[in-house]
Each structure stands twice: as C-alpha cells, then as structure tokens.
C-alpha cells in the first residue's frame, strides 16, 4: 500500500511548479535547447489555456453587456449597458427559480449525497466481503452519462407509463405526477443526480483512504480510540487534500447541473437551472447571445467566487 496518492502536502509538492523558473545558481544552467523546449512545453498549454478559457470567458463578460441575435458580423452587436442584468433580476421569470434550484441542488449534494459517498467509501475500505462488487455497483452510475440517467429517470417516473407509478398502482396509490408537479420534480430528479454523485465521491474518497498510512489507525487503536473517533479525529484531518477535492467537485457538479433537467423537460416547470437558461437563450433561431452571456457570467461568479476564496485560504494556511 503506497502512500503516493494522498501525500499530505509536503513542501516538495508546490516546489514542482517552481522548477520552471530556475535560479542561476552554480552550474545548474540551461542550454539554449533546453530553454526552447521549456518555452514550447509551457507556451503551448498556456496558449491553449488562454485561448480556450480566458478569451471566451472575457468575451462572455463583454457580450453580457450587449444585445445580439447571433446573426451577422460583430458590427451588429449593440451595447446595452447593464440592461441584460436588469431584465434578468426584474422581468425574466425563470431567473430566481433557477438560482433557488441551483442552491437546493448544492445543498442536497453537500449535506446528503457527498456524506453518503464518504460513508460508503469508509465502509468499503474495511475490505468487507464482496467489496469489489459493491464498488462496481456504486460506481456504475458514474460511468453512465447524465443523459442516460435522465432517460432512466423518465422510465421510472413517467406518470402514465413509469415503473414507480406502476408499482404504486399495485398497492392502490393514485398515480403521482413526479416529473410534472413543479414542487416535486426537482426532488425526484435530485434522487437520480445524487445516485451518481454518491458513486463519484465514493471512488474519490476510497482512493484517498487507501493511501492513508495504516500505522495511524494502529496508533489510534492503541490509544483506545473508537472507530468513529478514529475517523473524525485522525483519518478525516489527514485526508485534507482529498476533502478539498471532494468539496470543489461537489460545488462544481451542483452548479453545472444541466443534463438531467434538460433531458427531462428542458429546464421548464420546476427544473429551471442557470446552466439550462444559458443554453435556452443561446441556441435556437432568434438567440439572445448577450442575455445568455449575462446568465453565464452570474453562474461563473457564483461558481468561481467561493472556490477561489476557499482555495486561497487553504493554500495560504498550508504554505504557512
């Protein structure tokens, strides 16, 4: 059992990035060829990154202050100031429901799905009998694309032809409108989203647990700690890097939630999500590029803001 997976941030880890800026100390000089290779190896990814991530991001921000139907050249883009944002928060009906649903999604993932995933990982780490089977079974939904999960959800939840209502009918329960009732469908969809999220978190966390030094557990046992105490007082703090990854992934997964809602009813009627609103505005014939970009910018701020704050804080603590 090697511990290379979750080596808790040793001073060598950040040093990897520093290697690109070698200090001209002693004989450690780079040849001209080395410099070219370095420049290329750093330059190409940097270019791709800037071109595919930052340029479009900034373009989105700029476009969010414009009105454009996507037809014709850039000369047909009209600047409208903060009009898009004003309409968004005042007249656009699905905006506030979408914010609310994204937050509910985040809450369910944070408080229910992710803890369950961690719990399963801890159980499976005990090497119980059939652990491989359980791993496979729990991880299976992660392999399925969300589009397929959406399809499965409809097979289960369709009012007239779904499995759930079919079973309920057998015990004499009137059909429930799982997908059409706007106070019910978000929760029904979240069950399926969580099904996948649990497996995702589980596999991440399991990999981390496998990397925890077994002597830590033994030491805790010797000191008379219970299983629960061992996990919360010893294992969980040691797993800090994985915890950060899981947290970031949970936030990202819940804010970019799209496929399930879109496949089920294209984000209408109780399944409004910011990502779906972006898409609905940008695709189609008379698309509203500027308006959709404004929603995208809000989603960006919501998604990136907390993550940046959290990461800078943790990284600062670690380097201290």
């Amino acid at each position: 059992m090697t511990s290379d997976v979750v080596e808790p941030a040793t001073p060598t880890a950040p040093a990897v990035g520093v290697a690109a800026v070698p200090k001209p100390k002693g004989r450690l000089r780079l040849s001209r060829g080395d410099k070219w290779v370095l420049a290329l190896l750093l330059g190409i990814p940097a270019f791709v990154h800037i071109f595919l991530v930052w340029v479009p991001t900034l373009a989105s921000v700029v476009l969010s202050f414009t009105s454009w139907n996507g037809i014709g050249g850039l000369d047909r883009i009209k600047f409208v100031g903060i009009d898009n944002y004003r309409v968004l928060v005042t007249t656009y009906p699905p905006f506030w429901p979408a914010i609310e649903h994204n937050l509910i999604w985040l809450g369910v993932f944070m408080l229910i799905a992710t803890p369950i995933g961690i719990f399963f990982a801890v159980l499976l780490d005990k090497e119980i009998r059939g652990t491989r089977f359980y791993q496979g079974a729990l991880y299976l939904p992660v392999v399925l694309s969300l589009a397929i999960i959406g399809f499965i959800a409809q097979l289960f939840l369709s009012t007239d032809q779904g499995l759930v209502n079919g079973v309920l009918a057998k015990v004499g329960v009137a059909p429930v409108d799982w997908l059409g009732n706007s106070s019910l469908n978000l929760w029904a969809v979240l069950v399926f989203a969580s099904w996948r999220q649990v497996g995702y978190v589980m596999i991440l966390y399991l990999a981390g647990l496998k990397g925890v030094d077994p002597t830590l557990r033994e030491a805790a046992k010797v000191d008379g700690a219970t299983e629960v105490q061992t996990f919360f007082r010893v294992i969980f703090p040691v797993m800090r890097p994985i915890n950060i990854v899981v947290l970031v992934i949970t936030v990202i997964e819940s804010l970019r939630a799209f496929d399930l809602a879109y496949i089920i009813n294209r984000g209408l009627n109780g399944l409004e999500l910011l990502s779906v609103l972006v898409t609905n505005n940008i695709i189609g014939e008379a698309s509203r590029i500027g308006f959709g970009s404004a929603i995208a910018v809000i989603l960006l701020v919501v998604a990136v803001g907390p993550i940046i704050v959290y990461l800078t804080r943790t990284l600062r603590e670690e380097t201290r």
Binding site: L52, V53, V55, P56, T57, A59, S60, L63, S67, N69, G70, I71, G72, K78, V80, V87, T91, Y92, P93, P94, A147, S158, T159, D160, Q161, P175, D177, W178, L179, G180, N181, S182, N185, F258, D259, Y262, I263, N265, R266, G267, L268, N269, S275, V278, T279, N280, I282, I283, G284, E285, A286, S287, R288, I289, G292, S293, A296, L299, L300, A303
Partner: protein, 454 residues
C-alpha cells in the same frame, strides 16, 4: 418524426464548458457536410428555371447540373419521404441532388449558425415568422423569379405564409396538417357519443364522458409547445384570426382584456382535460387517447402516428367546436406548413430553382407523402384519388377556414415562443389557472417587452 413541431426538442446536448459558450457561438460556423461539388458550372444560359413544371427534356436540363439539399428529417418515415420527393424531381428535371441530413431538433438549435456558414443550396424549413426572421436577416435568397411559374399551385393564404416582411417569396411550401379534435369512430359509436359542433354540445359531451369514468380530452404539455395549440384555437375563435396574428406579431398587447377572456375560457376547459399534463409528453397523451382512456385529443393530425396501424382507419377528427362568437363562421385554425428554402448564396442557382419548381408541384408532394397519410400536400391538388378519407377531411377543414395560422411558435418571434418565454408562461397558467389573469397577462407582456428589437 417524434416531434414534428417541437421548437427545441429534448435532444440531449451537453453544455459546452460555461466559459466557452460565447466562443462557440462566435466561432462555430457550421458542420462541413458531404455536399458533392456541382458537376457542371452554373449555367448562365438558363436564368429562368420556370420550365420545371412542364417536365423539360433531359437534354435541356442536363445542363443544369447538380444542387445540394439539407434535410432536417432524420427519422425513417419522413427521411424516406424526402428521398422520394427528391428522386421524383431528379427524374423530372435531370438535376441531381445529394441530401444531407441533420437531426430535426438539433437542426433547429443550430439553424442560425448553420445558415451563416456554408449551407446546402436548398434547406428544409418552416413558414410563418420562422421564415420571415431568417429572411429579414439576409440568410435566404428570395425566389421571386421562380414564383410566377408556380404561383398557380398555391392558395393566397399559402402564398402569404411563404412571404418575408418585404413581400418577396422565400419558401416553397410542400406539406401541411391541421390541428383538430381527434377521436375514434368505433369508440364514439360504442359509447353513443356524437361529434360536438358547439361549445355547449362539447360541455354536455364532456360531462357525459366523465360520468362514464373517462377523460374527455387527453392533454400533455411536458414538451412545452402542445398547449400553444389550445391557446391559438381559443384566441382565434374568440377574437378572430386577425387579432391573433397581430397579437403574435406584437401589434396587439397581451394585456388586452380580450386575451384575459381567452385564458378565462381555457380555465373552463381545463376540468375536462387530462390531469397532470406537465409531466406527460404528447406521445403519452396520444397513447391515452389511442387506448381509449381519453375519448378525444386536441392536437395536430400527427397524433395518429401513435395509433397502431390496424386502427388507423378508425381515426377521425373534427374542427374545434365553435364558441358562439362573431368569429364562429371564420373557423380559424392552426395548420403548420413545412417548406423548402433557398440559402443565401446557392452554388448553382438554376439547378436549385429547377428543383424547387418541381417541389412546388402536387405530384412531387404526393410522392413525398407516399404512405404517410397524416399530412396533405401544400399545393392545390386536382387529383385527390390517392387521398385517404382523413386526408380529404384535412383538406376540407383547412379549405373551410377563413384564417389559417401556422402555430404559436411559428407565428411569433422564436425567442418569445421558446422555453424562456411562452412555453414556461403557458405552463405557469396550466399549473394555476385560477390566478389573477390581469397580473398574469401583464407578466407575458413584460417578457415580450424585455426582448430586444429585431
């Protein structure tokens, strides 16, 4: 053809990374396709392609060479229809045309960028506002020089539906179908129901059906668009075709009390329709009707696609009952039209126009329909011997109407009709029909007014 008029569809598309969305839209022009290069250079000697109807000799038309076609019909039956039509016209005109195919719903989502890229010469599309919008934005070529040779094939209404704002012709309509109340003859006979002509007769019948433990009218709106048909028919029958057209064109206000009256009437209708419509697709609604759980279904005649083949002859339909208004005799109706359009820079104009000229003939449209009897040709048909009784009835119903609309999402701007507009707003009403209609219609008008000028 699962969603013949679904404006956006449920087709899956992953959200390209949030940050790249803008770039995609800016940069993505269109998919390159298997368009064969035209065999012959555009023949300048044949500017008038008007001769297509008269089946020109192969020698004369061989000079026209080839054109290219993009179809949005990817499913088996409609794809075969397109092929049958193109094959027929290739033998008639000598013009060859490879047909490239895109998924129906994907194509609607990509239409803008596709038409700005390097589209095929001839593209399958719709009429109404969804035609006028690309025409207004310079994405199409007018076919005014071709039109005189095919004008006789079309009614005035059809000619108008194929026009842009500038009064030029931009499309060759090929098929159409009406929105009607469908029922099964044998079931009505068995239960002793009679076809209602007026609203009162309809309510009486609906109560009787409910007393029999059945649903009078199947209803489904998970897809967002089917409910538009109900709004259309009620508005046209209560306020007339012209008001309806003006409303959808933005010349009338949604806050008009006349519109509130439409929703009030709809609230009267809802108790007779299938409950929980927002969780049901139109296919599921059609199946409830086909399986006699619901006695009737108000939808386009394509609903009969969900009926098993052996029962197709049992399907019958009637126009929505009259409501006792001054517009009863007008009999306004939704009858969406599919059409071919000419992209903005066709590579071989004479060949494309020859092809389009042929598409405008009833013979080509009958070839298109083949075994599909859920639609009728858009042209005037003199020889209706190949029609099924249903097709004759469709033609009769559309012909009897004094105001033929397309459909809400084809008649009004698509950013208003779409998921972020009327689809969501109508679902809002269906969820809560007893809400304050003044506030509700003000909300609709607010959404309309927030849209940028086109």
């Amino acid at each position: 053809m699962t969603d013949p008029i679904d404006p956006r569809g449920r087709s899956m598309r992953t959200l390209a990374g949030l940050a790249t969305v803008a770039l995609l839209v800016v940069a993505c022009s269109s998919s390159t396709t298997s368009s064969a290069p035209s065999a012959a250079a555009p023949s300048a000697a044949a500017p008038s392609a008007a001769a297509s109807e008269a089946a020109p000799s192969a020698a004369a038309s061989a000079a026209l060479g080839a054109t290219t076609i993009r179809s949005n019909e990817h499913e088996k039956v409609p794809a075969a229809s397109v092929k049958a039509m193109v094959d027929y016209c290739t033998t008639k005109t000598g013009v060859t045309a490879p047909v490239a195919i895109t998924n129906h719903n994907d194509f609607q989502d990509q239409f803008n960028s596709f038409m700005q890229g390097t589209p095929e010469d001839i593209v399958k599309w719709f009429t109404g506002e969804r035609l006028r919008f690309p025409a207004r934005n310079g994405l199409l070529t007018a076919i005014d020089d071709l039109w005189p040779s095919i004008a006789a094939n079309y009614t005035d209404g059809m000619t108008k539906a194929a026009q842009g704002d500038d009064g030029k012709q931009y499309a060759v309509p090929i098929v159409s179908y009406p929105w009607v109340v469908l029922y099964r003859k044998s079931f009505f006979q068995e239960k002793g129901y009679t076809v209602p002509k007026t609203w009162d007769e309809f309510v009486t019948l609906a109560k009787k059906i409910q007393a029999d433990g059945l649903i009078p009218l199947a209803f489904a709106d998970k897809d967002g668009w089917p409910a538009m048909g109900t709004f259309d028919i009620l508005n046209m029958r209560m306020n007339g075709y012209q008001f309806h057209a003006d409303l959808l064109a933005g010349k009338q206000k949604w806050t008009d009390p006349k519109v509130q009256a439409v929703f009030a009437k709809w609230a009267e209708l809802l108790p007779y329709t299938q409950p929980d419509p927002l969780g049901r697709t139109w296919q599921e609604g059609a199946q409830a009707w086909a399986n006699n759980k619901a006695a009737m279904y108000f939808l386009g005649t394509f609903a009969s696609q969900q009926v098993p083949a052996e029962n197709l002859a049992d399907v019958d339909f009637f126009p929505f009952p009259t409501l006792g208004t001054q517009y009863d005799s007008e009999l306004g109706i939704d009858a969406p039209v599919d059409a071919w359009i000419l992209s903005k820079a066709p590579k071989n104009l004479p060949a494309a126009e020859a092809m389009l000229g042929c598409f405008a003939t009833p013979e080509a449209q009958l070839a298109f329909l083949g075994e599909d009897h859920s639609q009728i040709p858009a042209s005037k048909v003199t020889d209706t011997s190949s029609f099924t009784p249903q097709q004759s009835k469709m033609a009769e119903i559309i012909g009897a109407s004094g105001g033929v609309a397309q459909f809400l999402d084809r008649d009004t701007r698509s950013d208003f009709a779409g998921a972020q507009g009327m689809q969501a707003l109508l679902q809002d009403f269906i969820k809560n029909p007893s809400q304050d209609l003044a506030a509700y219609t003000a909300k609709i008008q607010g959404v309309y007014d927030s849209l940028p000028p086109q």
